[in-house]
Symmetry: C2
Subunit: 384 residues, 2 copies
């Protein structure tokens, strides 16, 4: 009796998904499971016929007839917002990970679709990196977030964050400072400027990159929606960097999602005396996050295995590096403080008197030892 299931990507499928996304909160695992089983069109149909069949609340049944998805889509289009569904070419395949059984057990699944304002295609997020953190960040945290984001965006990888105060906005701005791609994922409609203080930033992102939301235009941010949004940030990106995070914070919620989704999780350390770094230190201590200190190390983690290898930092070369093994052996036996005669240096070095004497002359010529009445000692240039 029902019409044949509309294929994913069809107009019917799109309309059904818009309608369903108005009915339930983001990622509602019951609706997501039913859509996976029956298709969105069929589910919408069943819900309008039989309120009990779905196991959903009866208010869903009551609200269904009041919806007007065609008008929703039309209004969105006029605001420059498109609704991307799993049937679309640009749909980011990473979101499929949200269908895994262990994720559905958390009573949450993938989005029914994503509302996108901006020219960036969602499949370009495949190589993106999330940079998130505390809203009550320190200047140190902001600076490091911006520096890391600048390097990530310079490599062509979009920097994904949540447009919140603190680390989020520092991350967006760091990417923009290099004219690199950066994307905001919101906990309210993609048409809303939240927080209001970031209106100019959000409009710029919508014009040049993308502002993304799982919620239909007009929806207000709630705590529940922030938590759902955090799972999207983790799911859409290749890895997540937490810059500063208080012990209980939204950033740690995103970090947990990255862990559940097997995405590399990275943490930037800070002073142990700094509250906003406590959460990050916990993540590193527990083994959940890899410690990173700059953008190159982030690229090493999210890059293809073996690419972007970072050379470990090394100290500048010292004069003693250029010495032969024998000369270094003599130098290592020269006293640091009070001068000693040649014979005592020779016995400490375990090398004969004549050789040590000529070695000391050589070292003296190179400014590495000092000579006095009572013997030889290290010159300042050769101090440890």
């Amino acid at each position: 009796v029902s019409a044949p299931a509309a294929s994913a990507g069809s107009d019917d499928d799109r309309m059904a998904r818009v309608a369903l996304s108005r009915l339930v909160e983001p990622g509602d695992h019951r609706v997501v499971s039913l859509v996976a089983e029956l298709g969105a069109v069929k589910l919408r149909e069943l819900l309008s016929q039989d309120p009990e069949s779905s196991g959903l609340r009866t208010d869903v049944h009551a609200r269904l007839p009041t919806l007007d998805p065609e008008r929703d889509l039309d209004l969105a289009t006029r605001q420059g917002i498109r609704f991307v569904t799993p049937g679309d070419d640009e749909w980011p395949s990473r979101l499929d990970d949200l269908m895994r059984a262990e994720i559905l057990q958390e009573r949450v699944g993938p989005p029914l679709g994503l509302w996108v304002k901006g020219p960036l295609r969602l499949d370009q997020l495949a190589e993106s990196v999330a940079v998130v953190g505390s809203r009550s960040s320190t200047t140190y945290g902001d600076d490091v977030a911006a520096a890391i984001s600048a390097v990530v965006a310079s490599s062509g990888r979009p920097v994904v964050s949540g447009a919140a105060f603190g680390i989020d906005v520092a991350a967006h701005r760091g990417a923009l400072s290099m004219e690199g791609p950066t994307v905001a994922i919101l906990a309210c409609g993609a048409d809303r400027d939240y927080p209001m203080a970031h209106q100019a930033l959000l409009r710029h992102l919508a014009k040049t990159c993308a502002v993304i939301s799982e919620l239909p235009p007009g929806c207000a941010p709630t705590r529940g929606r922030f938590l759902s949004r955090n799972r999207l940030i983790a799911a859409l990106t290749r890895g997540t960097v937490v810059v500063e995070a208080a012990v209980r914070s939204g950033a740690l919620n995103t970090a947990n999602w990255a862990g559940r989704l097997n995405r590399p999780l990275m943490g930037v350390p800070g002073p142990v005396t700094s509250g906003p770094s406590q959460g990050v230190h916990q993540l590193v201590r527990s083994g959940a996050a890899t410690l990173v200190t700059n953008g190159a190390e982030v690229l090493e983690v999210v890059g293809d295995s073996g690419s972007h290898l970072v050379e470990a930092p090394h100290a500048p070369a010292r004069p003693r590096d250029r010495l032969s093994r024998r000369l270094a052996q003599v130098l290592d036996a020269v006293p640091v403080a009070s001068p000693a005669p040649v014979d005592s240096i020779a016995s400490a070095a375990g090398i004969g008197l004549v050789e040590v004497s000529s070695a000391l002359t050589n070292l003296h010529r190179n400014g590495l030892v000092e000579r006095s009445q009572s013997g030889w000692r290290l010159a300042p240039a050769a101090q440890l």
Copy 2:
């Protein structure tokens, strides 16, 4: 023809060890291996009979007759310095790890004995913790080193360090601030005040705890002796904490020794923008060191398994923590910014109108939501 081998701990053994320790640099692996095989007395005898038999340099043979170990010991005793050998009760058994084959491959072995100035028995070091780091430390590093050392010493565990400028002296002082035990291990004779600026500290340690050296009294510090001293710091302690360390530094040398000796290695993070923290971040990144942020976490690592468990830091309780699951569900659906009417909150919460309405009244009474003409929104107290 030779006398029967003197047993370890005998006066002959002690004298032979004093003589040998005057002949070679600390931890000379050839002498150490021969002592292990033949005993110190026999080796001394052989060296004086046949310069070639030992494979040691002939200058050893030439210098042997000039030595006067009895006088050395006598002079040391008058300075309040005792020579502790493997035959003595207080000999720290941890040093046996330096006899392991993979350590001897590094061309270095255990000390022939230790010169000790101070009342602390060496076997009390069994539970000690090394706190080491950069001589060019920051105020941040000094403060954290002192705070960690204060906690470690308060637990009764000696804090071991090298009496150098920077982190070392901060560690000693942190322990002393709690009147806890702390021990300096030097790269020169235990009678020498090096560095001179720490004369008062070293004399205080020698009076109340211990100043230890592998080198006979009078010996001057050399670069080679600093490196040997670092192996002793790692070997004598249960674990090593590195507070700040430049990329190439003595502290990292101590850290490497801790690794080779399978001692727990801990690193204190700092700002990624701080040079002295770079070396520590490398240790944590490479997996060589565990990140620690305070003394309790250090005790957790070095304590007996399961003791000293640290409770993860947690944020102060928030008003919403006390809510029932249903009330929290309603609160999570209340807009953060612009107020919304009851019915939109009810549909976001997925809960019936009547229940939501009474829940909002309850939340309002608890100061978690605000009411206005256009509906409800979160009160500041309930903001994320």
